[in-house]
């Protein structure tokens, strides 16, 4: 064909990708606005599972059928059985994944075995090795179909160039939608929706080709059945080992493939979706495989003998002149390949970033990494983006190195066998409490060494990685170590040989080492938690009352979750503990919640390490161990009740103590109020009186002195007036007799005006930085709000002790209110004084300020009148105030 059709093809691809962008973008927007109605459909979940059907299914299944008859069905029968049997295993996996906030299969395994980072790194590396060929396979299929469709000469140069472009394009798409979320959460609504759409496209495309073949080329089903029996597929003989072995292998793969884990467990919105998927996904698989044999036999009939059966889906419509259908078919293949690569890249990059990059980064950014303030989310996202590029690059390199020659099916099965090695550790982990970390490491190591030695390395062909000598005579000349005939058992199919030996020796090693080793406390806790998830999924007895400082935890949490999210979380927990303010007590329950939230962003092992860094190592207490040791539910129940009671007592006592302290302070202050007012008034009056006497009594004063003394009298009089104004203002506000003038305005303008007023006429060099904010409209008393802003800015000007004082103003908005945070780079206010500063005359440093210490008290009164609030915001490094402004002023109850 010609260049024109190539251009048309590229154009169609681009339009399709832009369409997917649109879908993903719309889904993200909807999810952000809390709607996401479509995402709540079990159908979308089911369709997203179709990332199982890659280009290997779309193109490869027909090729597989043409070569090996009905054997291709095993690849879909296995997963169907797993979904049918959701009650046995998947249900549990999804529950654990959700309740422990698991981010990937590596996180799942590491989390189960005592949040072990070694295990996480191991699983990650193995997953990357196992998935790389599979990504290469997708690149190959897109590239080849491109070449076939456009009729371009299949010169290796153009092919590799196309592959590079495809890889780069996919990297961009994945980065845009896989790492868009600033909160680095594990749900990717946009991607899931795009994948559901792609699932429909590939199903529709394959059905269209199938219908065309059955009714357009052949004469309907009976003709097809005849053709089957007259084709070479009729000669297919079932190979018992391969039939059963491949059903097992594909069943294992759907549980262990990183991308399947991603869509099935991590992206799961609602456990009930699994129930629908338990029949709908097998139905999808059945329909996908329905027309495979018909297409294969018709292809074998019609197309010349040398034609590549892996491309029948594309070449059949082309050969019969149906360009439109061919285009649809191409898009189907394109969808299959891209959805797999995108999800696999997201899953792998999450693992690489959480388990390899972040731990390294945290340990290198000096020993105390977790508590430095500043935002770490940027680092998380950046490391994910880089990981995505690396994963795709690896796929591309594998494609270049392997030459893209191997039949699609065999690469897919090599990958399946690799990830199936996770199965014993995964299943053992959720069903057997005796499984230990050392056992898991042993099992995985044995499994992967065997996989690499027996299947992966030989797959490159003799003398590429393994010498032909070794293949024939075994390692070190031991014939029982021949890669494809271990222990002298010859005649087995190489794949089944590998599956059999690797999985059984993997399981054996895992089992024996688990029996012989003794688990660490955390492993036992997590083991009990995973295995008995349905009995007590509400409680993970992990932390027991350390002496962490809440503020330090806050600093850390803000970096990972984002300031706003962390504050909301802390405030909610504080409220649950019955405390006022924003800092909860760092008790076991809170630390556990925090750790789980953090693990959603950085993985369980890292989250655990970070929290223990602050809480101080001793993470598991004797009580926790007792809870594990006590097998019966009653004892668990009893001890937890006791714990709750003593917690409650302690909390009540603490609250009483606090109330008492506060009362004492308040009464002292009330007592002091008069004497404070007296002091504040008398001080300026002293100067006024002294200088006016001097002016009156001294005749020999110079003109300059006279002027200066009158100046002092004037200034002190102004100070007195201001003080009286403040007192009256406060009195009016407190008695609720104030009249408010509600106006609508843009927040930015109110703020700019306040900044200008506050900074004018002062020589102090306070630098004010205001975050860019959208156009936020507020309706309130603008003068009063401005007064508050000015006061807070002037406070920073007066009290910020940094060498180059800086005040940053951060504006965040939600549905009901706007939060304006004023954060300076000074020393901050000690915890015990954070509440008192809003009391009248409660200055930190009485002599430094020119005012009377009424400013913040007035601000608080004003904000409460305006239906908002002002509060001290701990854990920001410097002194920080948060002003909460409702979008529309609600009249405070009078």
């Amino acid at each position: 064909m010609n260049v024109g059709s190539l251009n048309a093809l590229i154009a169609v691809c681009l339009i399709y990708v832009i369409f997917l962008f649109g879908v993903a973008f719309a889904a993200e927007r909807a999810a952000m606005r809390g709607k996401g109605g479509l995402l709540k459909l079990p159908l979308v979940y089911t369709l997203s599972l179709s990332v199982y059907c890659t280009a290997w299914t779309f193109y490869g299944a027909v090729g597989y059928a043409a070569r090996s008859g009905l054997e291709y069905l095993t690849i879909y029968i296995g997963p169907s059985l797993v979904l049918f049997g959701w009650w046995w295993g998947l249900r549990k996996m999804v529950r654990i994944g959700r309740s422990q906030r698991i981010t990937s299969i590596a996180d799942m395994i590491s989390s189960r075995y005592g949040k072990s980072n070694i295990l996480a790194v191991g699983v990650t590396v193995l997953a990357v090795i196992g998935t790389t060929p599979y990504i290469a396979l997708q690149l190959q299929s897109v590239t080849t179909s491109f070449a076939v469709f456009s009729g371009a000469p299949e010169s290796p140069g153009t092919l590799t160039a196309t592959a590079l472009w495809v890889a780069a394009g996919l990297a961009v798409f994945t980065i845009l939608f896989g790492t868009r979320n600033l909160d680095a959460n594990e749900r990717h609504y946009g991607v899931v929706m795009a994948i559901a759409v792609e699932a429909i496209v590939k199903l529709f495309a394959l059905l269209a080709v199938g219908v065309f073949v059955v009714w357009g080329i052949a004469d309907g089903p009976s003709d097809i059945l005849n053709r089957i029996d007259n084709s070479k597929i009729a000669n297919w003989e079932i190979q018992g080992g391969r039939w059963a072995g491949l059903i097992f292998l594909s069943a294992a793969a759907i549980l262990c493939l990183p991308r399947m884990f991603q869509v099935m467990v991590v992206e799961n919105e609602n456990e009930d979706h699994l129930r629908t998927a338990s029949w709908a996904f097998p139905a999808y698989l059945m329909i996908m495989s329905l027309f495979v044999v018909p297409i294969a036999v018709v292809g074998l009939d019609l197309l010349p003998a040398g034609a590549n059966p892996d491309l029948f889906v594309l070449t059949l419509p082309l050969a019969t002149g149906n360009e439109g259908l061919a285009m649809l078919s191409f898009l189907g293949g394109f969808s299959s390949a891209t959805s797999m690569v995108i999800v696999a890249a997201i899953a792998l990059s999450t693992m690489v970033s959480n388990h390899i990059v972040m731990p390294i980064w945290l340990s290198t950014s000096d020993g105390n990494g977790a508590t430095i303030s500043g935002d770490v989310r940027g680092v998380v996202l950046m490391s994910r983006r880089i990981s995505i590029v690396v994963v795709l690059l690896l796929g591309y390199i594998y494609y270049r190195v392997s030459g893209g020659g191997t039949a699609l099916a065999s690469i897919g099965l090599i990958s399946f066998t690799a990830v199936a090695q996770f199965l014993p550790v995964l299943v053992g982990g959720i069903f057997w409490r005796g499984a230990t970390r050392l056992g898991a490491i042993a099992g995985l190591t044995v499994g992967f060494v065997l996989w690499a030695y027996c299947l992966f390395l030989p797959s490159f062909g003799p003398d590429v990685v393994l010498s032909s000598n070794l293949l024939e005579y075994g390692l070190f000349g031991f014939s029982w170590l021949r890669p494809q005939a271990l222990f002298g058992i010859t005649g087995l199919d190489p794949l089944i040989h590998t599956v059999f030996w690797s999985i059984s020796l993997n399981t054996l090693a895992f089992f024996l080492v688990s029996l012989l080793s003794f688990p660490e406390p955390l492993e036992r806790l997590q083991g009990a938690q995973f295995v008995n998830i349905f009995e007590h999924s509400s409680r993970t007895p992990t932390w027991s009352g350390g002496v962490a400082k809440s503020e330090e935890l806050m600093v850390m949490a803000q970096r990972i979750l984002g300031a706003r999210e962390a504050q909301v979380l802390f405030a909610r927990e504080a409220e649950r503990q019955g405390l006022s303010g924003v800092l909860p007590e760092p008790n076991a329950a809170f630390l556990q919640v925090l750790e789980r939230e953090l693990s959603g962003s950085v993985g369980a092992a890292t989250a655990h390490a970070m929290v223990s860094q602050i809480v101080g190592g001793a993470s598991v207490s004797v009580q926790d161990l007792m809870a594990v040791a006590n097998e019966t539910a009653q004892i668990m129940e009893y001890s937890s009740q006791l714990e709750v009671k003593s917690d409650e007592l302690e909390r009540t006592a603490r609250q009483l103590r606090r109330a008492n302290e506060k009362l004492l302070q308040v009464s002292e202050q009330k007592d002091d109020f008069l004497s404070q007012v007296s002091h504040e008034l008398r001080t300026p009056m002293t100067s006024v009186r002294a200088f006016s006497e001097i002016l009156r009594d001294s005749e020999k004063l110079s003109e300059e002195d006279k002027r200066r003394y009158s100046g002092i009298i004037y200034n002190e009089a102004v100070r007195l007036t201001r003080l009286l104004d403040d007192l009256l203002d406060l009195n009016v506000l407190e008695n609720g007799r104030v009249s408010l003038h509600t106006q609508e305005a843009v927040l930015k303008e109110v703020l700019d005006h306040a900044i200008e007023t506050a900074l004018s006429g002062s020589e102090a060099k306070l630098k004010v930085e205001r975050s860019k904010s959208a156009l936020i409209l507020i309706e309130t008393d603008l003068d009063r709000l401005g007064q508050v802003f000015i006061n807070v800015i002037r406070n920073a000007q007066k009290y910020c002790e940094a060498e180059s004082p800086k005040l940053s103003i951060v504006i965040t908005e939600d549905v009901e209110q706007v939060l304006v945070d004023f954060i300076d780079n000074g020393t901050g206010i000690p915890h015990e004084a954070q509440e008192m500063i809003f009391d009248k005359f409660a200055r930190m440093n009485p002599q430094k300020a020119g005012g009377a210490g009424l400013g913040l008290a007035i601000c608080r009164e004003i904000m409460q009148r305006l239906g908002g609030d002002i509060a001290y915001l701990p854990g920001q490094g410097g002194t920080a105030f948060r002003v909460t402004v409702p979008h529309r002023m609600r009249m405070a109850a009078q």
């Binding site: 008859g69 009905l70 069905l73 029968i77 169907s80 059985l81 797993v82 049918f84 049997g85 009650w87 046995w88 249900r91 529950r95 059945l225 005849n226 089957i228 029996d229 597929i233 009729a234 297919w236 003989e237 079932i238 018992g240 039939w243 059963a244 059903i247 009930d272 129930r275 629908t276 338990s278 029949w279 709908a280 097998p282 139905a283 059945m286 329905l290 044999v293 349905f534 009995e535 999924s537």
Partner: protein, 95 residues
């Protein structure tokens, strides 16, 4: 006093529900066994099963399993309001 009829009715409901769970649990095992049946087929001679018939057999199992599964899951969801001790509170259907 609770009318005895209602008690009987409730027990029956619970009983049905448990049997439904049994069905849901056993279906994949039935599927596995049926799908392994081709291993028993003679591979040589006149009695060899044709590929066309094998295809029909495999897809028929698939279809029946999907329908059975869909029906049982729907029945399970529909009866979800019943609290069932066997479910240990974790698998109550949407009601």
């Amino acid at each position: 006093m609770r009318p005895p009829a209602q008690t009987v009715f409730l027990e029956r409901q619970t009983y049905r529900r448990r049997r439904l769970i049994d069905l849901i649990k056993i279906l994949p095992l039935i599927g596995l066994v049926l799908w392994l049946v081709p291993l028993l087929w003679p591979t040589e001679g006149a009695e060899q099963v044709s590929s066309a018939n094998a295809t029909i057999y495999i897809f028929a199992i698939w279809f029946v399993l999907i329908v059975a599964k869909a029906l049982s899951v729907n029945a399970f969801n529909a009866g979800g309001s019943q609290k069932d001790d066997e479910l240990k509170g974790d698998e109550r259907g949407q009601s």
